[in-house]
């Protein structure tokens, strides 16, 4: 980073104030003193084959549009991301990292792509035991309640609240905007606590109607 030193202000009577310096915005590459920035996302074993399957779908937007270098470290089982010189924005790296992380959590690529495109999307994760301590059969039944028959309850929540939900054993991940995440989380929590699906549906209907009315 070049900083034009301002000549000393020791001659007030003769010289007027020197012009203000103009700095161009820093490039992503130049941040942190010109060094390259890395991000590393570990790949869980169950996402290994899906990663292989969808690699090109992941790689293309990251490299082409975000202008971030991406590679898979097979030995370490990690996806590495690196800034390039022509990376426009430093936040791109973070976005790409979030995108890859979302994929690793279990989200589909078209859903995870939304992270790249929109700023206000977040991923929230919590466990079933955070809501209520369940053991054995109760836990299994709770998970079944969450998904519903053929996943219809989960889809119902997703469609009404415009979120994406991943139920991985006892972990639950929600991808969406902040308010929508809240609604989805409330529905999921009520399901965990034992309310029947019909009750959740009615609440969802009300909420979605309200959301639709807003616009």
């Amino acid at each position: 980073m070049e900083i034009e030193t301002v000549p000393s202000e020791s001659k007030p009577e003769s010289n007027p104030l020197p012009p203000k310096p103009k700095f161009e915005p820093l490039k992503a590459h130049e941040m942190s003193d010109g060094r390259v920035q890395f991000r590393k996302v570990s790949v869980p074993p169950h996402r290994y084959s899906p990663l292989k399957k969808y690699w090109m779908d992941i790689y293309t937007p990251v490299y082409e549009q975000m202008k971030i270098d991406i590679r898979m470290n097979l030995k370490a089982r990690k996806v590495e991301l690196k800034t390039r010189q022509d990376t426009p924005d430093i936040s791109n790296l973070q976005k790409c990292a979030d995108f890859v992380q979302a994929f690793m959590l279990g989200f589909d690529v078209p859903d995870a792509i939304a992270l790249l495109r929109l700023d206000e999307l977040y991923v929230e994760s919590f466990e079933i035991k955070d809501v209520k301590t369940l053991r054995g059969e109760h836990l299994s039944r709770a998970i079944g309640r969450l998904s519903g028959k053929g996943g219809k309850t989960k889809f119902a929540i997703e469609n009404s609240t415009k979120t994406r939900i991943v139920i991985a054993d006892t972990k639950i991940h929600i991808l969406g905007s902040f308010a929508n995440i809240k609604i989805a989380r409330d529905s999921l929590c009520s399901l965990i606590l034992g309310s029947p699906a019909g009750k959740v549906y009615s609440k969802l209907r009300q909420v979605s109607a309200r959301l639709a009315e807003r616009f």
Binding site: D108, V109, P110, D111, I113, A114, R117, L118, L121, G148, G150, G151, K152, T153, F155, A156, E158, N159, S160, K162, T163, R164, L175, G176, S177, Y201, L204, R205, S208, A209, A212, F215
Partner: protein, 543 residues
């Protein structure tokens, strides 16, 4: 004082007495100087004449000049009080020992003669005699009329009483005579009352009968009526009293004592534990002045209760009944709100209760009623006029609200696309894409078109169908319902593709389990041959 002067004073006093006696009663109403002077002189005389019989009197003579009426009275009182008590003692003594009376009688024959004179006088009313006794008797009558100077009248009566006693002790026992108390009368009445109550008849001695005769005759002083009747019935009374006296001898003394210690309560209170004698006494006291009724009643009760008596009894019993009814707790019917616990068992059945019925009484079913009902039914059936319930159509004023259906299938769009659409909708409402309901509408319109085509084919003679547009679409082997319905409620096993489309095979397809040993061997042999052939080929290639 000089005796001669005393003698002259006595004469003047006597004159004054005469004067007093001769004055008409109305003249006493107006205070006159000469009358008072005369009375004072007379009382002075009487006082001094009584002096020898009275041991304790402090005065030698009554001092009247310059003294107030009250003071004069006090002096007289001072003299007479101890005199009275001494007289009472004498009377008691005579009661205990009646024989002494006869002694006295014998001793005082002159007194007896005097007594006869007295009797004569009694029979002839208000005859004026120069005899002192007569004067005294008359004075009694005069004194009764007196209204003004009561104390002197009383005092004179007392003195007269005492004089009589001193002269005729045997005759007059009840010396304590005043307007309220006559002991002889009292005694007789008590005995009569007891005779009535107990119904005893006994004999009596001559002496007592004589005494009683005298008593009754003396009572006649006040009541002339008594005397006329009394002589006939006295004997009977006396006989009754004789018995009682025999029984209740001891009580006479008690009577005297009670009389001495008589109190207000005895006469004028209504205590229930009073003895019959006390009741009689009270009655006697109350009816003192009109004591004739007692005599009359007593006489008539012996025959049987009179009409008046009967009426009085009836009234009394009625009054008692009513009082009792008022005091007792009311009958349950008059008590206001009464629950079953507060009245006797089955007591409500006996009373004729009257209350409002809110329900119409059930109709009595008779043959006529049933006949009329049946006729009505027949007419209704023939007319077809049934009272069927018509369903009330609720007129909906507003259109039914659009219910947003929850999509329960996996969304086909990615999240990014969803947000993209949302963004586009916000920014550019014109480019609104098809919503879920619109898709439904599209589908519905498609179905209707097909239906119309079929109907046209059926109805037109010359029907030319529209050109079929070949639409290539991949049929996936998915349950049929899943494709046709967006929200499948039930899962159906019916598949879109026919079995031959799913599998195109030749020959006899056998399951693993169905294969015979020979066939299994053959299969393995074929596999080996193929493998060998490929291996040879590869070797050939390499080489």
């Amino acid at each position: 004082m000089i005796p001669s002067a005393m003698v002259s004073s006595t004469e003047t006093a006597l004159e004054s007495l005469h004067h007093i006696k001769s004055t008409e009663p109305p003249e006493w109403l107006v205070p006159k100087q000469e009358l008072s002077q005369a009375v004072r002189a007379a009382s002075k005389l009487l006082f001094s004449s009584l002096k020898p019989y009275c041991p304790k009197s402090p005065f030698d003579q009554l001092l009247t000049e310059g003294f107030d009426v009250e003071q004069i009275w006090q002096q007289i009182d001072l003299q007479s009080q101890p005199l009275l008590s001494s007289l009472r003692r004498e009377v008691k003594k005579f009661e205990k020992h009646p024989e002494e009376i006869s002694k006295l009688k014998d001793g005082g024959v002159g007194g007896g003669e005097k007594k006869k004179k007295v009797l004569e006088q009694i029979e002839t009313d208000n005859v004026v005699n120069d005899d002192e006794d007569d004067d005294d008797m008359d004075m009694d009558e005069d004194d009764d009329d007196e209204e003004e100077e009561d104390e002197e009248g009383e005092e004179e009566e007392k003195e007269r009483g005492t004089e009589e006693e001193s002269e005729n002790e045997g005759e007059e026992k009840g010396g304590i005579e005043d307007k309220f108390l006559k002991i002889k009368e009292l005694q007789e009445y008590l005995e009569e009352d007891e005779a009535r109550e107990f119904g005893l008849k006994k004999k009596k001695t001559k002496a007592e009968s004589k005494k009683e005769e005298e008593d009754t005759e003396e009572e006649g002083d006040d009541d002339d009526e008594d005397e006329n009747e009394g002589s006939e019935d006295d004997d009977d009374e006396a006989e009754e009293e004789e018995d009682e006296l025999g029984l209740f001898d001891g009580n006479d003394e008690e009577d005297e004592d009670d009389l001495e210690n008589a109190r207000y309560e005895d006469f004028f209170s209504r205590k229930k534990n009073k003895s019959s004698k006390e009741k009689a006494k009270s009655r006697d006291m109350l009816e003192e002045d009109s004591g004739s009724d007692d005599e009359q009643d007593v006489d008539k009760r012996k025959d049987g209760p009179s009409k008046h008596e009967k009426e009085l009894d009836k009234l009394r019993s009625k009054i008692e009944e009513m009082e009792k009814a008022n005091l007792d707790p009311k009958v349950w019917t008059m008590r206001g709100e009464v629950t079953a616990a507060q009245r006797q068992k089955n007591s409500a059945l006996e009373v004729d209760l009257d209350f409002e019925h809110n329900v119409r009484p059930a109709p009595v079913i008779t043959e006529e009623v049933t006949a009329s009902l049946e006729d009505l039914i027949k007419t209704r059936i023939s007319e077809g006029l049934f009272d069927d319930v018509q369903k009330a159509r609720t007129s909906s004023s507003k259109a039914p609200r659009e219910i947003k259906e929850l999509d329960e299938s996996k969304s086909k769009k990615g999240l990014a696309e969803v947000y993209e659409e949302e963004f586009v909708q916000k920014t550019d409402p014109a480019s609104a894409l098809l919503t879920f309901s619109d898709e439904l509408k599209k589908e519905a319109s498609m179905l209707f078109k097909k239906l119309c085509l079929k109907l046209d084919a059926l109805s037109h003679f010359h029907f030319t169908p529209k050109p079929v547009v070949e639409d290539m679409s991949i049929q996936t082997n998915v349950p049929a319902l899943a494709m046709e319905e967006i929200a499948p409620m039930a899962v159906s096993d019916a598949a879109m593709l026919a079995p031959e489309e799913v599998f195109s095979g030749k020959g006899d397809i056998k399951e693993e389990a169905e294969l015979t040993k020979a066939e299994r061997k053959r299969r393995r042999a074929n596999k080996k041959r193929k493998f060998k052939a490929e291996a040879a080929k590869r070797m050939g290639k390499k080489a």
